[in-house]
């Protein structure tokens, strides 16, 4: 589905229409709005501009001025959402990261669903597209340079095949730069997001004791979820396009984060950890698949100078606030 033919299927009349001017105040469509990050983004945006949410989950305690369409992004009904309001920007947060989901479901949701979304962006001439990818697409490797720039190859799927479709989502968004140059496409690649979100890094730091790999203590970058929301807001400004690595405060060795949280630490030799984790994974005793161990063995840090210079991004949360945020609002 990566061929350009997909986007040519739009009707000729729509193609001829020029892309509307970006004002920065028009309606924003947010996919995956019911996730913890999505809700925060919605709260940050809805006072300044109309927000349209798309998610197959229900949006409880929804702010009154947010329109929510409870649809699966793979369904035709998504098109109605585009038809209804003249959407000015699309923020795609609805990427599935659930390693428990079947490979087929994962792939169809992430790749087929996103392709559908891109099709409508192209057909309805949406002038702005922001995609939340992740710095994990670079993949942790012993041969990684200390700071990966946006041009580094995306090798995340090399040793962890389950995230190949996440790499593919990033690639699909990249191909949009030349397929539809009138649309300002922004890809954000934040490092490990910490906060009340239920992602692997936050869940990992919530463990007690935290399991680490014996003899490894890589440098790790983290970013607060509120800073990611801020980065998305910045990316929505007119004139911004391109790929941006997003990093939070200064990096630290992994052990310092654990120390900062006052957690106990238990080091396990890699070979043992891999076997035990693989076994625990298949018995559903852990939420971490064994290949994720590479994240606590090898370095996967990014050079965020472009987002600081072009996007004007700077983390607002201190290191202490960012790290402690994993324990906020836990239950």
């Amino acid at each position: 589905m990566t061929d350009s033919g997909t986007y040519r299927s739009s009707p000729p009349r729509a193609r001829m229409a020029s892309v509307p001017v970006l004002t920065g105040t028009g309606p924003v469509l947010v996919t995956g709005i019911c996730g913890r990050l999505g809700k925060q983004l919605a709260r940050a945006l809805h006072r300044d501009r109309p927000v349209v949410g798309v998610d197959r989950r229900p949006f409880h305690d929804i702010p009154k001025d947010i329109t929510h369409a409870q649809v699966d992004i793979r369904r035709k009904k998504l098109k109605d959402v585009f038809r209804a309001g003249d959407i000015e920007a699309v923020v795609h947060l609805g990427v599935m990261h659930d390693p428990r989901a079947s490979a087929a479901e994962h792939h169809s949701w992430n790749v087929a669903g996103f392709t559908k979304l891109l099709e409508y962006v192209s057909q309805f001439r949406i002038p702005k597209l922001v995609v939340l990818s992740s710095a994990n697409v670079y993949g942790p490797q012993p041969s990684n340079p200390q700071f990966l720039t946006e041009e580094a190859p995306l090798l995340g799927g090399q040793n962890f095949s389950d995230i190949r479709d996440l790499v593919e989502v990033d690639m699909l968004a990249q191909s949009f730069f030349w397929k539809l140059p009138e649309t300002e496409t922004v890809i954000l690649r934040p490092v490990h997001i910490l906060g009340s979100v239920h992602n692997a890094p936050s869940n990992f730091l919530r463990l007690d004791p935290v399991v680490t790999v014996m003899g490894f203590d890589p440098m790790v970058q983290v970013v607060h979820q509120a800073d990611v929301v801020h980065a998305i807001e910045l990316a929505l400004r007119p004139g911004i396009r391109g790929i941006f690595n997003v990093a939070g405060p200064e990096p630290m060795p992994l052990s310092r984060y654990i120390k900062m949280l006052g957690r106990q630490r238990i080091s396990v030799p890699y070979s043992l950890a891999r076997i035990v984790m693989g076994r625990m994974w298949s018995l559903r005793l852990t939420t971490f698949p064994a290949p994720e161990l590479d994240h606590i063995r090898y370095v996967c840090m990014v050079d965020d100078s472009r987002s600081r210079q072009v996007l004007g991004f700077a983390p607002r949360m201190s290191l202490e606030q960012t790290v402690q945020s994993v324990d906020e609002g836990r239950w």
């Binding site: 041969s143 200390q146 200064e250 990096p251 106990q264 298949s282």
Partner: protein, 365 residues
């Protein structure tokens, strides 16, 4: 028994049930390990506790392990005091070797440390203290390094290019020690480490904490743009794993360092290391074994089998720092053009090595 195992496998295999996502009903008859056909002695499944009841037990045993670790870490006062005494002893020993306190010396070294006291590449000065004590002792007492021409190293970004020898990279450590202990102002040398080393437990931790980085061009560029000292061995593993008959004959140089120097406008200081080749006498390099172990080399060193022979022989090291060499031109030029420049550096180092060998009266003193 066999019937029980079969029964367990067919009906109550918790792994398969779990994998299918079947959750109706408790996972009662289950085993800690998945029952399989290869374990004919699997007991009656009823004898085992449920997974749910196992989880807290596993957790409690895990916590016991953690407590053990914590007990070691939060050691009693006497141990702490002993550690404090040892720490003071380290400080004193370093003061004797450096001629000033470690903190004073490190304060003169330009480093950009983060809020956690660690720099972005993972260098931790607190950690390096103990390493520096070891290296400084080797430098001053064991190898009694003689240094010539260290004043040739210019301020700002610089590439130290040296011959590589001695099976383990003591030469690198001694060059770093001389830059920290004998150069004024003191400089912190960064070396580029083989990627393979960073996939090894503890080795990777050690190298990162003492400020060494993976040998990729991006890291080199970044360090040089921070005006740091970079140590390069263009011979790589070819040089360090030379057998004894090839001693002090420089092997082929890689071209990367020259392109790097030209791209970043960095002066090259040639360094000749004399004394490294005799510390471990290697009689052969078994490539087949090296391949098997995914290691770059596998040398045969007879002295390792003698008692105490595991230590390198206490040869006297002599380091010769040459005049800085500056190169200009297109860094993306043909290999042939770059090779000429590399040859110039290599010849300079070779002649410095030859001169050093001629001037040395004895291997050990």
């Amino acid at each position: 028994m066999a019937r029980g195992a079969l029964h367990a496998h067919m009906d109550n295999n918790p792994v398969e049930r779990a994998a299918r996502g079947v959750h109706n009903g408790p996972l009662v008859p289950s085993a800690p390990n998945p029952p399989s056909n290869t374990t004919p002695n699997a007991p009656e499944p009823r004898a085992f506790p449920s997974l749910a009841s196992l989880a807290p037990r596993a957790k409690s045993s895990l916590m016991a392990l953690v407590r053990l670790g914590a007990a070691a870490r939060h050691a009693p006062k006497i141990v702490k005091r002993l550690a404090g005494v040892a720490d003071d002893a380290v400080d004193e020993a370093l003061q004797a070797l450096l001629g000033e306190s470690f903190a004073d010396r490190m304060a003169k070294v330009p480093l950009t440390l983060g809020p956690s006291g660690v720099d972005a590449f993972g260098l931790d000065p607190e950690w390096t203290k103990y390493v520096i004590l070891t290296v400084a002792t080797l430098h001053r007492k064991y190898f009694r390094t003689e240094i010539h021409g260290i004043e040739n190293v210019p301020a700002g970004r610089v590439l130290l290019v040296a011959n590589h020898s001695g099976q383990i990279p003591i030469d690198g450590a001694l060059i770093a020690a001389s830059m920290l202990m004998d150069a004024s102002p003191p400089r912190f040398v960064r070396a580029m480490v083989e990627k393979w080393a960073l996939s090894l437990p503890y080795v990777s931790l050690f190298f990162t904490r003492v400020g060494q980085v993976v040998g990729v061009p991006e890291n080199a560029h970044r360090l040089l743009s921070q005006e740091e000292v970079l140590l390069v061995f263009p011979e790589g593993t070819r040089g360090i794993a030379k057998t004894f008959d090839q001693r002090y004959k420089l092997t082929e140089f890689g071209l990367g360092f020259m392109r790097l120097a030209m791209e970043t406008g960095t002066p090259i200081v040639p360094v000749a290391v004399v004394g490294g080749e005799e510390q471990y006498v290697s009689i052969a390099n078994v490539e087949a074994v090296a391949k098997l172990l995914h290691a770059p080399v596998f040398p045969i060193i007879p002295q390792l089998f003698l008692p105490g022979g595991q230590l390198p022989l206490p040869t006297k090291y002599r380091l010769w720092f040459g005049e800085p060499m500056r190169f200009s031109g297109d860094p993306d030029d043909d290999d042939a053009v770059i090779e000429e420049k590399v040859w110039l550096v290599r010849q300079t180092i070779q002649s410095m090595v030859n001169r050093g060998l001629k001037e040395r009266k004895h291997i050990f003193w």
